[in-house]
């Protein structure tokens, strides 16, 4: 049982680790695209956290099976939230990339330190 | 005319005057100056109309609007404010006459702006004088600072701007940092900031805090030019002389000492303060300011700067008198405001007249000038005598009362200070008078040949103005009954305690 309890938390730990990897990339990387990649990992980690909490042991996806009684379903709410969040994430990303493209055109580089030097 | 209406008019008239000046300034100079004079006269009439009421013991009140619960903009005329308003508004007429002569004689630029700001400053002074509570007082206090800034910076060159920065910096920062804190503290403790005879703080604070609050007020009111927040006053001397005369001898600096006196009388309550040893330091501080400012004045070579330091010393007279916290001294404080106003405005007028006529600013240049400008120097001498306190001048009256108060309180430091400063005053004023009348004109000092020119008196308007003030200085010695009568009303509670 100990082992299973440990495994039960594994999702949260992976969430933490992914979050940190993404966060690290955002802060430490000077390349703007790399920052955005880091940002998308960062956001994905949060999606994982939400989805992890919707799981019910022995449940299935929340699509009601008519006539079946006593069927456990996983929680639909976090799924809805994350559907929204995924689309928000890609929207932000697209905007960010558009800015990066413009930066490249105006500065000729996408490295943060070189941009700072240029001004 | 109901007194309420009069109060409102006293505020509105100079404001409207400012607007009219702005409009007429584009049309014609004479028209503009006529408007100024009419406004000044009208204001004086209105303010004087209130005097009999106050003498009868009435205290008309107007509440303009409530800003926050417990905090409103309101006006209430009481003897101190009445005196101050009367003084400022009456002298404004004379000063306007003088200004016209000065500004034209000197061919200054931006004259319209000058008159507008002047009118605004007078508005602020009226509001300050009639304010019914600390909040209103603070509002007009800041307005006064801001409206006089353009006057000080009038010339606009680098040196002037720098001085004006000192002026504004000291006044604005002390008021925001200390005065505002003190006011909010008062509101916090007492729940209101209304001026009530006998004070509103009695028993609400522990004595140490009272001492601290008093310090916040005294240093917060930078306009009172008590050391070490006096730096702005010499700096302000870069302004045109009419400004120095009315504002930095009368309106602004008097606003400072007026505020402190008012706070002592109506917020703390003089007898309450007297019962607390924690407030005794103020007399010493004022005494120190008197002596050291006089000493500094001794070393000045520029006439206006000398007058500035003299002003600092004289202002501290008022504060010291108020801080002695005895009835006679409180009256003395009020009377000295008037007496010093007459004397000092005369001195400044004379200095300005000399500058316009002869372009001379240094004391050393004044040798023998009495022969060329007899009227001016005669007035100057009267003003100087009043500063020293020689009868029959106004200065004697007030010194008499202050000295009386100090004796009442048995405050030997104060007595000593008064005597010492009289000697010092004599030491820096009398040589000038002597030089002007009895020494020969020395042309060798003026290396700048263009300056050496034959000159007589200053323009007629200026001479007229300074003659009137000199006459007032002497007249006050004989006819001061009304003022004393008025100011006795602020002290009955003191007698009873």
């Amino acid at each position: 049982m100990k082992l299973f309890e440990f495994l039960g938390y594994y999702n949260y730990w992976v969430f933490a680790i992914l979050l940190m990897i993404g966060f690290y990339a955002v802060i430490a990387k000077a390349n703007l695209i790399k920052k955005l990649i880091g940002l998308s990992i960062f956001q994905s980690a949060v999606f994982l956290m939400y989805i992890s909490m919707d799981k019910v042991e022995g449940g299935t996806a929340p699509i009601i099976k008519p006539g079946v009684v006593d069927q456990l379903y996983s929680n639909p709410l976090p799924q809805v939230l994350i559907l929204t969040a995924i689309v928000v994430g890609v929207s932000t990303l697209a905007l960010g990339l558009a800015i990066v493209v413009r930066i490249k055109e105006r500065y000729g580089t996408i490295e943060e330190n070189e941009i700072l030097d240029a001004d | 005319m109901s007194p309420q209406l009069a109060i409102m008019l006293a505020l509105v008239v100079p404001l409207v005057g400012a607007a009219l000046i702005a409009i007429t300034g584009r049309l014609h100079d004479n028209l503009r100056e006529t408007v100024t004079l009419i406004t000044a006269t009208l204001l004086a009439v209105i303010v004087w109309s209130l005097v009999p009421l106050i003498l009868d013991g009435e205290r008309p009140e107007v509440t303009l609007l409530q800003v926050m619960p417990g905090i409103d903009i309101g006006f209430r005329v009481e003897p101190l404010g009445m005196l101050f308003a009367t003084l400022a508004s009456s002298l404004w007429i004379i000063n306007s006459i003088y200004s016209i002569g000065y500004m034209r004689g000197n061919k200054e630029k931006n004259q319209t702006r000058f008159y507008i700001c002047f009118a605004l400053a007078i508005t602020a002074t009226m509001g300050l004088a009639f304010s019914a509570n600390l909040f209103t007082l603070f509002l007009f206090y800041e307005l006064l600072t801001l409206s006089t800034y353009p006057l000080v910076a009038h010339k606009g060159d680098a040196g002037t701007v720098k001085s004006a920065r000192v002026y504004l910096g000291v006044l604005l920062s002390t008021s925001i940092a200390l005065l505002l804190t003190a006011i909010i503290w008062t509101y916090h403790v007492a729940g209101s900031g209304d001026f009530v005879l006998g004070g509103i703080l009695r028993g609400l604070m522990d004595p140490a805090s009272v001492g601290l609050l008093l310090a916040l007020f005294v240093f917060g009111v930078g306009k009172a030019a008590i050391m070490p927040v006096h730096r702005w006053l010499p700096a302000a001397m870069v302004a045109p002389t009419p400004v120095s005369a009315l504002l930095h001898a009368v309106a602004v600096v008097k606003a400072g000492v007026f505020t402190i006196t008012k706070v002592i009388v109506y917020i703390f309550g003089a007898d309450y303060l007297f019962s607390l040893p924690q407030s005794g330091w103020l007399v010493y501080l004022a005494a120190f300011t008197i002596i050291s400012a006089s000493l500094v004045a001794l070393r000045q070579t520029n006439l206006k700067r000398l007058l500035a330091y003299s002003t600092i010393a004289q202002l501290s007279y008022v504060i010291m008198a108020a801080a002695i916290l005895k009835p006679m001294a409180e009256i003395g404080a009020a009377v000295h405001m008037v007496a010093h106003a007459f004397g000092k405005i005369t001195l400044f007028f004379a200095a300005g007249a000399i500058y316009v006529a002869a372009k001379k600013t240094d004391i050393a240049q004044l040798r023998g000038i009495g022969r060329r400008m007899p009227w001016t120097m005669a007035a100057f001498s009267i003003g100087a005598l009043s500063m020293i306190g020689v009868p029959p001048t106004a200065g004697f009256v007030s010194k008499w009362y202050i000295l009386g108060g100090a004796l009442q309180a048995g405050h030997y430091v104060a007595i000593f200070t008064i005597i010492a400063s009289t000697v010092l005053n004599a030491a820096y004023f009398l040589p000038i008078v002597y030089m002007a009348w009895f020494e020969k004109e020395d042309t060798s000092i003026n290396t700048n040949t263009s300056v050496i020119k034959e000159h007589g008196e200053a323009p007629l308007l200026m001479v007229l103005a300074l003659t009137i003030t000199a006459a007032l200085t002497i007249g006050f010695f004989f006819f001061n009954g009304t003022v004393i009568e008025l100011e006795k009303q602020i002290v009955p509670r003191l007698d009873s305690s």
Partner: protein, 331 residues
Amino acid sequence: MTIVFAIFLLTMLVITAVAIVQSSNLFVSVMLTSIFSLLMSTNFFVLDAADVALTEAAVGAGITTVIFLSALALTATQEKPNRSGRGIALIVVGLTASLIIYATFDKPRLGDPDAPVHQHVAPYYLDNTMEQMGFPNVVTAVLSSYRGYDTLGEVFVVFAACIGVLFILDARTGTGPKYVTRKMTGLRHHLIPQVVGRILVPFIVLFGLYVQFHGEYGPGGGFQAGAIIATAFILYSLLEGEQAALRAVPRSAQLGLVICGALMFGMVGVLCMIMGGEFLDYSVLMENPVTARQIGIIVIEAGVGMAVCGAMLSIFHAFAARSAEDTDEAV
């Protein structure tokens, strides 16, 4: 068994993420990001979130990768080495990590049916969807009705991103070839991909439509469908070239799709208000509230699909047009 599989997937996720950050070749990073999304999607599936898995696959692995690649084509593919800022990054990251790990130990265990999330609001949805909506997919029900307002917001986020990219990249919104495209012939000279692609495109669109309109009964809905259909058109433009794709779906049509989709959603809501209900209360649209809700949901899902599809296409073409312009300048 499932849990072991889940652990395997999660571990793979971490490894991929590390690889993404480590690789200095941006192209490799982007491709790994695509794999990362796919792994994530699988993981969601394991955790019983079919709808999310589908979305993550379509949006995360599909659209995101395409946008990344088109941006890379315009910028750089190699990251320059830079070691500054690592210390601060590690400290900040370490602090945040310890905060999260600290929080972990009071959290309900994975799959615990007694967890608060399964007790309070969610049961209402599970119990009442059939009755109130008349279809079994609870996620769709929550998405489009119970929390329809969120979804409206989300459509407008997409709309914002769309106009943002157009604004920033300054792509024309009008019709007509403003940019002369040079040699953007796609894969026309590669016969095999072209033929296969041509066969596939209609089927992908068909699948997209299936996902769109089957959303009430199985996993799917407007978002997924929009993304899938957009992918089909993007594939088409890769195959046939920018020009041909724009002939098929001109810019104005793309933008029109976004606007109409967003407005359709909003207008349904306004209609509900006019009919006397609250904003987005579909039940007032018809006599029978259940049918009314179904109608409302179909319309707004269509709106969502249109908006997402149009936005993704607009964004893609904005990037693509940029590269066309660039080559012109270079020549």
